[in-house]
């Protein structure tokens, strides 16, 4: 059976109850019953939840083979939590564990070993990279991995599709009763939004910190009412890799050109009025876009109403200049953003449910005007891949990409036309992570293309004299520069499901075949 982006959904998945993706608005009006965690009532006579070691916490939780553990990715490449916990899991001889991560990257190579040895047999995450991505793509994980969007992950937790037995939450500071914060410690990360829903739905919660502070640690991002145990360790992470001094402004002239064109497109659209809302990431063109917005806002005498999502110093600076009303923060990319969060009342954190959950009563991004996103690949149907590389191996993150693209009034993809010898604009992306029905405009260094579904945008760009071409023209240009690559060879076995934000199947990722040179 094919879904609405033309991807074949294997029969065995349909038989297991998976539904094909039917478009970004197909779930409107859905009703469902939320699940709840099993709570062990606190011992009223005990004033502390502190245990001496992670091993003690594992034993106190009554961890068993086959249970699901959750982790957040706020410490990014500086994270020591996953590595530390998994080392204990291995040492204590557990098997068949399932991991539910908001994202996982290069910081925990031990997870790749655990996949190879069967200590870990299940995985759901939004991002997957390096050795872990290779292990899954080479078919080492026993279960099929499920790749979820940030919003989709929260939906899955609230629907009970992900049941977290124990949430291990790394926190820069925490008191002995479990009030935890992303600030106030040695390795601050700012907001802890990716953990906030986990702790509400996990049966048991262990906070791991390297900075134990007096009760009450308020304001806290994680409330002690959800926390069973607290463990103090020497280091929760490497502060240098958790947050850089400041996300760097690119000097790459092509990135700058793309960013300038992106801002020109934004300005030509009717959403570019006083109080508009905006989201972007920290890639080269994205930060440049944020910076280039400044002069246009000043020239027109307007300001951005609110920014949502991941936050960098550049956004904070715009707010300080009075060009942004407020920032709804789910993740902080650098020290300037961390410092500002909670210090300036206009800069506050929101949970990932409030940010992007499609199955609540209205997330922030439902009201978003512009989102600027990147792409590894985009095809002539505007489907985007941000998950698999040109070799078919998992090396990316869906993150909030499909969530924000689906919701924003205008989603702009900024990307170079080719990267090295790899065409970005192509006939068919390897993996669809974000459906073409969510993507409105593509800005490359070789030109701009607008999704024909958005004739309204085309009219505005024409009126503003902004040149744009059919996306097929950009594809032809890309192929004329680097050639058209052969299709990647895959085995039949499905190693991962790319879940749409509403829980349907957007695409599947199959096991990669060992590389061989074709005969012809």
């Amino acid at each position: 059976m094919k879904n609405s982006v033309g991807r074949e959904i294997p029969r065995e998945l349909i038989e297991q109850g998976w539904q094909p993706y039917q478009g970004k608005d197909a779930y409107n009006g859905t009703e469902f019953q939320k699940v709840g965690p099993k709570i062990k009532v606190a011992d009223q006579g005990s004033e502390e939840k502190v245990l001496n070691s992670i091993e003690e916490a594992i034993r106190a939780c009554g961890l068993k083979d086959g249970m699901t553990l959750s982790f957040h990715h706020h410490f990014r490449d500086g994270d020591y939590i996953v590595e530390t916990v998994m080392r204990e899991i291995v040492r204590l001889g557990f098997r068949d564990m399932k991991l539910a991560c908001s994202s996982i990257g290069s910081a925990a190579p031990i997870v790749a070993d655990c996949i190879e040895t069967g200590v870990v047999t299940g995985l759901t995450t939004s991002g997957i990279r390096d050795r872990i991505g290779e292990a899954v793509s080479h078919g080492k994980l026993k279960d099929i991995a499920i790749l979820r969007t940030h919003g989709g992950r929260i939906r899955a937790i609230e629907q009970g599709k992900i049941h977290i037995d124990v949430a291990f939450v790394g926190a820069p500071s925490c008191d002995a009763y479990g009030n935890a914060s992303g600030k106030g410690g040695k390795s601050n990360c700012g907001s802890l939004s990716y953990a906030e829903i986990d702790v509400m739905y996990a049966d048991q919660v262990v906070v791991i910190t390297d900075t134990l502070v007096p009760f009450p640690n308020k304001p806290s991002h994680i409330e002690g009412i959800y926390v069973d145990y607290v463990v103090e360790v020497n280091e929760i992470g490497n502060p240098k890799k958790i947050a850089s001094a400041a996300a760097r402004m690119t000097t790459n002239p092509k990135d700058l050109m793309i960013a300038e064109d992106c801002v020109r497109v934004m300005r030509a659209l009717p959403y570019f009025v006083d109080g508009f809302s905006f989201q972007t990431g920290v890639g080269g063109p994205s930060i440049a876009t944020t910076i280039f917005l400044r002069e246009h806002l000043k020239e027109l005498g307007i300001k951005i109403g609110w920014i949502v999502g991941g936050v960098s110093t550049h956004m904070v600076n715009l707010m300080k200049e009075g060009l942004v009303g407020c920032i709804a923060d789910v993740q902080d990319f650098d020290l300037g953003a961390i410092e500002s969060l909670g210090t300036d009342p206009r800069h506050f954190d929101i949970s990932v449910s409030e940010y992007a959950n499609p199955f609540n009563k209205g997330a922030f991004i439902n009201k978003l005007d512009f989102v600027i996103l990147s792409a590894l690949e985009i095809d002539t149907d505007f489907n985007v891949n941000v998950l698999t590389g040109s070799d078919g191996v998992l090396r990316g993150a869906a993150g909030g990409h499909p969530d924000t693209a689906a919701c924003a009034k205008c989603c702009i993809i900024v990307t170079p036309l080719v990267r090295g010898r790899i065409p970005t604009v192509c006939d068919r992306v390897v993996t669809v992570t974000t459906a073409g029905d969510s993507i409105d405009v593509l800005v490359t260094d070789h030109g701009i293309a607008v999704n024909p579904l958005r004739q309204d945008l085309i009219k505005h760009l024409n009126a503003a004299g902004i040149e744009h071409v059919d996306i097929h023209t950009l594809r032809d240009k890309a192929y004329s520069i680097v050639g058209q690559p052969d299709d990647i060879q895959f085995e039949d076995r499905v190693v991962a499901i790319v879940e749409a934000r509403d829980g349907t199947v957007m695409d599947v990722v199959r096991q990669v075949k060992p590389f061989s040179i074709s005969e012809d």
């Binding site: 000097t251 002239p253 092509k254 700058l256 050109m257 260094d445 070789h446 520069i481």
Partner: protein
């Protein structure tokens, strides 16, 4: 014969790029400089000259540069490289050659002879490859007039500040006073010879403000454009060289009035109290050409 259009085309921004770097030569036309200068000289290491020529040849043969002029900076005449540089450039179909460290009219003649031989060897129209000279020493600057007049292929001369400053034993920290005489002599010589004149590169890429100031200075001195080393500088040069709306409207009115009066058989006439004749046509035409290149003029002229 070389058409005057080709010789006199707009050259506000002439961007250097190493002929050895595929990622640069692949699509640098995207930044829309007026001219690209593929460098075989200083940007290419001594033992990489051949591979750079190979890249250059295939790039020029295969890539559509969308109307951006393609020049090659060849190695200096006291090196073993310059003759092969010329053969490859001419064979590939380059628009023109920039002669590095040109000191005299004789240097131009030497290059011209080699270029003509290459045109013959590779079946290109004789006289089709343009020449420009980089003046890099005090002697070269003092010979600016004879160099500018040395060949009908010559379209311009360019100051090369790095070497010139080394010769003059100055640092460039004096706000350009060390190059003032050289710039003045060069622009004067170029105008006297009827060729274009280009200013040197500005190497502090982060100081865009200083770059803009220097560009304004050389524009007011009469230079036609500036050598640049980074795409970020292109927009600034084009902005500085762009005529104002008043200048464009004035030029448009002048051109129309001269034409209309000429049809009526009137050579000299008054407009807004100023005497106008055919001598004003060239300036007005240049203003409109600049306005078109800057995207500021959409009229019919």
């Amino acid at each position: 014969m070389i058409s005057t259009d080709r010789k006199n085309r707009l050259r506000r921004s002439m961007m250097f790029l190493s002929a050895q770097r595929p990622n640069l030569i692949r699509d640098s036309y995207l930044f829309a400089p007026d001219s690209l200068i593929f460098d075989l000289e200083d940007a290419v290491a001594e033992n990489q000259k051949d591979s750079a020529r190979f890249s250059l040849y295939h790039a020029i043969k295969n890539i559509d540069y969308h109307g951006v002029e393609r020049l090659v900076r060849i190695n200096a005449l006291d090196t073993p490289h310059w003759q092969e540089d010329i053969r490859v450039s001419v064979a590939a179909g380059i628009d023109g050659i920039r002669i590095a460290k040109c000191e005299s009219a004789q240097d131009v003649h030497t290059v011209e002879t080699a270029v003509a031989a290459a045109e013959e060897e590779f079946g290109r129209p004789i006289g089709s490859v343009l020449l420009m000279a980089a003046l890099e020493s005090p002697l070269a600057v003092l010979n600016a007039l004879e160099i500018s007049k040395a060949s009908p292929r010559m379209f311009g001369i360019a100051l090369s500040g790095g070497d010139f400053r080394r010769c003059m034993r100055t640092t460039g920290k004096g706000g350009g006073v060390d190059m003032f005489t050289a710039r003045g002599l060069m622009v004067l010589s170029a105008r006297a010879a009827g060729v274009q004149c280009f200013d040197t590169v500005y190497t502090d890429l982060d100081d865009l403000e200083g770059f803009e100031k220097e560009t304004q200075l050389i524009k007011h001195m009469g230079f036609d454009g500036k050598s640049i080393v980074n795409p970020r500088q292109i927009k600034i040069v084009h902005k500085v060289f762009a005529p104002s709306q008043e200048e464009i409207q004035e030029a448009e009115r002048v051109m129309i009035a001269i034409r209309e009066n000429a049809e009526k058989g009137i050579g000299i006439f008054q407009m807004d109290g100023k005497m106008l004749d055919i001598a004003f046509m060239e300036g007005a035409e240049r203003t409109i050409a600049l306005a078109k290149a800057s995207g500021l003029y959409k009229g019919d002229l």
